[in-house]
Amino acid sequence: MENTNFSSNTLSPFSFLVHPLAKPGTYGIEIYENNNLIHTNQIISSNENKETSLNIDLYLPSLRAQKGSFKINGDHAYLLFYNSQSFSKNRVIIKDKDSVVYDSISPVKGDLFVLNLLKPGEYTLNSNSLKTSMKLNVQYPDLKRDKLSDAMTRINLNSHSIKAIDSQSLLPNQGVIIQLGDGLKDFNIEYTKSYDKKLENSVVNELKRMARSGIKVPTDRSKKQIIKKFSIRK
């Protein structure tokens, strides 16, 4: 949870790549970690399959546990790549026979990078390809101000908005969806400013206050006033 730096090829429990397959077919998939090929398999995209999305965990034991080919729908096929156990530099290549249809280091329009930032503070998104940067301000949640449902609204960014916006506020666990393509091929996100430490424990303290306020804790009882009596009579 403390890992706060991401790049467009960082896959982790909190950062994912999404690629929609353009058409049905049988594809080969190659997975690289730190430029080393670690696994290969097949993806069968066909309308015989109902699943419209596949979350492919690039953690090697998970890849090896996959029985047979990956199967996904033909008309709507969204492949999501992530690593459930660590922050890793992965490259994914999908081939239609020998032709590369997808290379994660060269994303195209329609590809997405999805991020789930948890730690409050200021992050700077830098893109060499766009030659621009912007801030992502993850706010410290306030129990009175911020509803959990507010974090359900995704933040959508693309090359245009990244160039236009200086900063974007968001809540922890609020999904950030970065549409790649249109000049946006790469970026890195760095944690550049910490939150105000005085805020730490504010949610827990507020929970205590709410627990107290919702429960009557008498303080003005007169001395020797009996609260409860238990009796035995013979």
């Binding site: 789930n116 995704r154 409860k228 238990f230």
Partner: protein, 299 residues
């Protein structure tokens, strides 16, 4: 038959009461089931109190004896629902709905048990009062069956007439639950958060607490605190654990069976020493006036 009267004033009875209750000490541990599981470990001692003698009907009232709860430890065990992050919809299409969803990362297995220890020492002030009548018992000491009275006297092993108090009624009054009961809630919240999130940094506990939708409801609902924490605490101890009835039973049994109010040796050494003069006692009777507790000794 002649009768000797021994009269004890109310003031003197207070000293007798001190001896009686100072020897009382019980401990108990156990657990309860219900909406949540809880276990306890409790020790009880008695101090203070006073005697009030009542005539017609005869009754010895022991009033306002302080109950010292030491220790009073309760452990709450709570089931916590699974906490997950992510899982939000990435891509949504008309008619199909969400077609791509972020992986859901569940940080904790479903329904882990959290133990929350609560030290409630000094939190509760309570008193016992009771009305008693005197009962007479004769203790036939089996080890002196082969001895004559003088031998038994020399061996300090004589039969005894004993006066016990038998309870007619006993009340346990919960007088006060400390103002620091608010700290009890803080304690519960802290232990709940730490129990769920363990050694995570403070900001992470805050984020995850905020993300755990029902945490405030958990604190109140699972513990079934309702609106009144006094009520909750006394119900927990009294009803769930049955401690208050237990204490009253134990106090009643102790006073009635374990520790006599008075003992008179039989025969009674009216002149003690190496050559004692022993007076056989046929029976004893008691009487209570508003000022004195009287023991009539029939010789």
């Amino acid at each position: 038959m002649a009768t000797i009267q021994l009269a004890v004033s109310e003031n003197s009875m207070n000293k007798v009461l001190d001896n009686l209750i100072n020897n009382f000490h019980i401990t108990k541990s156990g657990s309860s089931t219900g909406n949540f599981r809880a276990s306890y470990n409790v020790g009880i001692r008695l101090t203070g109190g006073s005697v009030d003698l009542k005539n017609d009907p005869d009754e010895i009232v022991l009033k306002e004896i302080d109950v010292n709860w030491d220790p009073l430890n309760v452990t709450l065990e709570i089931d916590i629902p699974e906490i997950c992050l992510g899982g939000f919809c990435i891509f949504w299409l008309p008619f199909l709905g969400c077609v791509a969803r972020a992986p859901k990362i569940c940080l904790f297995s479903a329904n882990p048990d959290i133990s929350i220890p609560l030290n409630l020492d000094g939190l509760i002030t309570s008193e016992i009062s009771g009305g008693f009548n005197a009962i007479i018992r004769y203790k036939d000491e089996p080890s002196n069956n082969s001895l004559n009275p003088y031998q038994a006297y020399a061996a300090n092993n004589m039969d005894k007439w004993q006066v016990f108090l038998n309870s007619r009624w006993l009340d346990l009054d919960i007088i006060d639950i400390s103002d620091t009961v608010g700290n009890l809630l803080d304690n519960i919240v802290d232990n709940l958060i730490n129990g769920i999130f363990g050694g995570l940094p403070g900001w992470a506990k805050d984020i995850l607490s905020w993300s755990l939708h029902e945490i405030n409801d958990i604190i109140r609902g699972i513990l079934d605190i309702g609106d009144d924490i006094d009520e909750w605490l006394s119900d927990l101890l009294g009803v769930n654990f049955g401690l208050f009835d237990f204490i009253l039973q134990e106090v009643g049994n102790y006073i009635a069976n374990s520790y006599p109010l008075y003992e008179i040796s039989n025969p009674f050494p009216i002149i003690p020493g190496a050559n004692p003069v022993l007076l056989p006692i046929n029976s004893i009777r008691t009487d209570v006036t508003n000022d004195e507790f009287v023991i009539n000794v029939d010789i």
